[in-house]
Symmetry: C2
Subunit: 354 residues, 2 copies
């Protein structure tokens, strides 16, 4: 039976990407060798890295604007550290919108003063703080654009004098934004881009080289830029599969085209949450994420039968995170509208049965 | 035509491993989902991580001896930094046997005093220093067991009071050693273990927690141990493929069995280098690596015809590193004796023709 994969990440990827990635593990570019057993310095792989980097900039409309794209290792968790190591001289502002922001703050505190410009911790992060003020003289302001666990998403980004740093791990390439408002964007690959093991970093070069501390080579964006994202052996398979996913996105019409589908998927599931008396949403309506819809059963006693119906329908990965409970339907780029339809049908069926 | 893959890394992997990895990208454990689109917290993947970690300890005969195995990201290059971050309080000793040792030294200097206990830089690293003395009071002594670029390998490890740290990126799982003489072993996966993107760290727990500096979470071995190697999303594909390769090695009879084959391969190629007047070896005989044989043509004018013969025979990846020139035949665990035979035949043929 076909699976409908709502997993929060690692998550659903386009079927044609999986097929090409699987083939490349056996034979890459008809070379008679596997993708994972050739030198990363070979012409064939250097082309992959170059293409992945340029596609990322092209899709974000950041070509020729002073940005560099890098594919690194370590996930967003290592970026929490690298962002601070490279940019934090005295003080930085952080908007605290959940688990990942909190972790970013914790790591950055080792390198300077951290000012929490706003926080939604008081309501278990079910909203995005607004109307906060950003003090002058910050080295940067750090935001988390989408909060996978709580299902909230920043819709409007603040205008600041300070460089804007954004963790876009869970919604990059999903919606149109003026990406040139950001000076540093980072994202683990394992949502909208590829398998776990690669991390996209998009950085405006002019913000680098300003801190006085010595930066270890592997944590230094300038080192990675100077080596064209191959300072050391890159995560070959994850970069290749990310490149395939970016090619797939471009062929589909880019971010504008996928955003339209993502909007439809989100509207479909949120309408059901709002109209179906069996369910209630977790996040405040105006801050709802188009990537991760969080919701609960109004009557917990129905959990067993709902879970059974979900399983019966081939739906995978909708259990909520332990910090929120309930359910979470993650609807990344590669998830079809059809899959969301199947989930909504099951939700409606619960109402009819109850 | 069958390829004979002498690439220095990423490098040849067992064909059955490639096949299983390729299949898992389409359908993992008959789940109807790809390995790379399921949650890393799912039962199926947690089993993979647990198995990879326990197989690593089992094959190194380190079970029940106070060691932990971790699969991290960032390659050995990040370990240059992590080793120092976690262990270097005042001063450490480093044996400088080539490019990778030099890089490790460079990163460690940010954290304390580094004493080069020995160096073979005077002869472009074509030998392993011996008879050096190790000062008292070191936080650790750092060694590089095999030098991929220069083709040298440490055969006898020093006995010291200081904890022994060893970068085994290019010869781990290739030969029997008393691995319990080491307190920290690290190795990028992409030689004898799997695809690039995972790094094995084997650490004796009792040496940790002794430095006074604060360690960022992602660089802290104790954090990764406490989270059972899943502090953040691990590089799923690279860990799975490493697990498959370790299973393959165990089924073959473990390190003892593969060492026998590795010895035969090395003897075959070094005999040819020594007996064939067309070639000369680069590394000093007593320090020759069983993993990477470095050699040159005596008469550079034969390069074009030798290269053509090599290509004709389906041999891939024997160009030497730019620091050494000439040729390098890398003979990792998954390279067959047959492939080495093909190379030796081509070398003999050059002699007959010339």
């Amino acid at each position: 039976m076909k699976k409908h994969n709502f997993s929060a990440g690692p998550c659903v990827l386009p079927q044609e990407v999986l097929l090409k990635a699987s083939e490349a593990v056996m034979d890459f570019n008809n070379s008679g060798l596997s993708l994972i057993e050739i030198s990363h310095r070979s012409k064939d792989f250097v082309e992959v890295m170059d293409k992945a980097r340029s596609l990322a900039l092209e899709l974000l409309d950041l070509e020729g604007k002073g940005y560099q794209a890098l594919f690194l290792q370590g996930g967003a968790s290592l970026q929490f550290l690298m962002a601070a190591y490279n940019l934090l001289e005295k003080k930085a502002g952080y908007l605290n919108t959940g688990t990942w922001s909190s972790k970013a703050i914790k790591e950055a505190k080792m390198f300077g003063e951290i000012i929490e410009v706003g926080s939604s911790k008081d309501e278990n992060f079910n909203y995005i703080p607004k109307g906060y003020s950003v003090p002058d003289g910050l080295d940067y302001l750090h935001l988390t654009s989408n909060n996978t666990i709580f299902g909230t998403q920043i819709k409007k980004f603040p205008k600041t004098e300070a460089p804007l740093v954004c963790d876009m791990s869970s919604d990059i390439f999903s919606r149109q934004l003026d990406f040139s408002q950001f000076d540093l964007i980072y994202a683990g690959a394992q949502k909208n881009m590829g398998p776990a093991g690669a991390t996209l970093v998009v950085v405006k070069e002019e913000i680098l080289g300003k801190v006085t501390r010595q930066i270890p080579s592997m944590l230094d964006y300038q080192v990675h830029i100077s080596k064209e994202s191959m300072f050391n052996t890159p995560p070959v398979f994850a970069v290749y599969t990310s490149m395939l996913t970016l090619e797939w996105l471009k062929a589909k019409g880019g971010i504008a085209a996928i955003e339209e589908i993502n909007d439809k998927k989100a509207q479909l599931v949120y309408s059901e949450i709002d109209l179906n008396p069996m369910f209630e949403g977790f996040a405040q309506k105006e801050d709802r994420s188009n990537m991760n819809a969080t919701f609960n059963l109004v009557d917990e006693k129905l959990k067993e039968s709902f879970d059974a119906m979900v399983k019966e329908a081939g739906i995978n990965g909708i259990n909520g995170h332990r910090s929120v409970g309930g359910y979470r339907a993650s609807m990344y780029n590669a998830l079809s509208l059809e899959s969301v339809g199947v989930l909504v049908d099951v939700m409606s069926e619960l109402e009819r049965k109850a």
